[in-house]
Subunit: 323 residues, 2 copies
């Protein structure tokens, strides 16, 4: 626990410092966001806010986690390194998307097909990694029932689906200042506790490092955001959260701790399906659902508080179902 808490502190300080250093650089490089044309009117003023702020917490996480990592087990089994590689792999896919935005679509990074291809490859690689990891394998825990389920070789395709779903959902949730950051701080705090309880203190150090890095980043990312995390950041978070849950053998808790990520995706799917079926009618004023709340008159900050507090409650329910 002391090591985890120390890691969090180091990562927080690094996050604050890296944010301070990176902010002018991102401005100089003109890495400004071109706000999505269809976003709510109030978002227009965000034009020009630099993206790729995700590099702040990614950097803080990597430095703190490498410093405080436990290197006693074989390198290939090191869970923090595995989580890091998974997050970085997804980050590069997000990075390509960000570059596309910066260049206003000219000379776009990845086509949707290429993106899906790389995501699938990454998901396959990580699922196989877990499948063969002596502390993970094909058995998953069922929270609340306190039982286990051996998925056998089906583990790989099921987890691939969960990985691609989670990373893209994290990406969709990143739509309001500080939203994904606040929710993720709570998630990684809960994952740190779960890792410590499961005796996986190595993984706990990784989760604590990301929690701390995000806490530092939040100060720049809250409304009005000085920088956005960009797809670079949201894909990084998505990769890290699913990796941590899988290595805990607890992929099912994602339904609770990543609730708002999945609700974002679900609301888009419902909206699009309904729109097509009815020939033009909408269920939500806008999707993902945080934009719906916004157009219903809730302030951006109130939505963030609501998402953060309900995520904390869902994390506590998760802990109650596992501890």
């Amino acid at each position: 626990m002391q090591r985890m808490m120390g890691t969090l502190l180091i990562a927080f300080v690094l996050g604050v410092v890296l944010g301070k250093l990176l902010l002018p650089v991102l401005h100089r490089l003109k890495f400004g966001q071109n706000i999505y044309e269809l976003a709510p009117e109030a978002h227009k003023k965000k034009q020009g806010t630099p993206i790729m702020g995700g590099l702040v917490f990614a950097g803080a996480f990597i430095i703190a986690a490498l410093l405080m990592n436990d290197y006693s087990m074989p390198v290939w089994q090191n869970m923090t390194l595995a989580m890091m590689l998974m997050a970085l792999g997804n980050m590069f896919i997000g990075f390509a998307d960000d570059m596309t935005k910066i260049r206003r679509g000219k000379n776009g990074g990845l086509t949707p097909k290429q993106k899906m291809f790389f995501q699938t490859i990454l998901a396959l690689a990580f699922s196989l990694y877990c499948y063969f990891h002596p502390q993970v394998g094909s058995v998953i825990e069922i929270p609340f029932l306190r039982t286990q389920l051996d998925l056998g070789i089906l583990y790989v395709p099921i987890m691939m689906f969960i990985i691609v779903g989670t990373t893209n959902s994290a990406n969709l949730l990143d739509g309001l200042d500080g939203l994904l950051t606040s929710v993720s701080i709570v998630d990684f705090a809960a994952l740190s506790v779960l890792a410590a309880v499961a005796g996986l203190s190595g993984l706990g150090v990784g989760c604590a490092a990301l929690c701390g890095g995000l806490m530092g980043f939040l100060i720049y990312n809250v409304n009005p955001a000085k920088m956005f995390m960009g797809d670079t950041g949201s894909m990084f978070i998505g990769g890290a959260v699913v990796a941590a849950a899988m290595m805990l053998r607890q992929p099912l808790i994602l339904v609770l701790i990543a609730f708002w990520m999945f609700m974002s995706t679900l609301s888009v799917i419902i909206q699009v399906t309904y729109f097509k079926k009815t020939g033009g009618k909408r269920i939500f004023k806008m999707s993902p659902i945080h934009h719906h709340f916004e157009l219903c008159g809730m302030s951006e900050v109130r939505i963030v508080a609501m998402y953060m507090m309900t995520t904390a409650v869902l994390c506590i329910i998760t802990l109650m179902g596992i501890l």
Copy 2:
């Protein structure tokens, strides 16, 4: 732990429900805040926002804590009840202040002298209570050094000073939308953990109940606030936080977990002293120091995020010094 987590969930739901119910009532009673004339210009638009929202989390805390309390020990030794009475006692002093504000100074509640008198009586009573409580007494823990110090009968005057200082400091920190609420959520989460570790699960239930109630209240209290907690709320929080720390025999951790409360007071003292000594010069643009940050151009929400995240870091340092 399960009991504490369950209490937090109940209190959160109660906080959300009570907030919903109380908001129209407070509006109808015209319990609107008259914004302090000397507050930063941007605060003028807050005129009319109802105060006494503190009743929301006080109510949620009381119901949840009474429901989930452990009644196995003699009633007078029950720590959650003691914390509740201390918080309520302070709340009534704050309530009198709020009534003064609502009536625009006409027919004022308490004079400063009367207020100080009641605070002193309350502080004396609670210090004596702890002094004679078999699980508390005159011994306090020294964190980090992991040693103890027996203050003897000096315990009473020293604690009286700490109590009056903390409650008034909490009152000063309540100056921006969601500021004291966010900081207190983190504080009571940390205090719950400390209580559980110290084997005082009864006290843990009380801390968890207040944490949950505040989490529900935050949704109404974030910028732009739909209601303020008022002195009713801030004095309640101040009383509860100092009571919990004292019953844990850890009054010294208040320096860390209540850091921003004390910084608020300290900045006022420094400002006033310097102003008098120099015959009119100011160190801060305005005190308490959160208004200084505000006038330096930080957004209200960014200050809240900074205070909340640094408080979380200080709570983790506290845990490192005790666990």
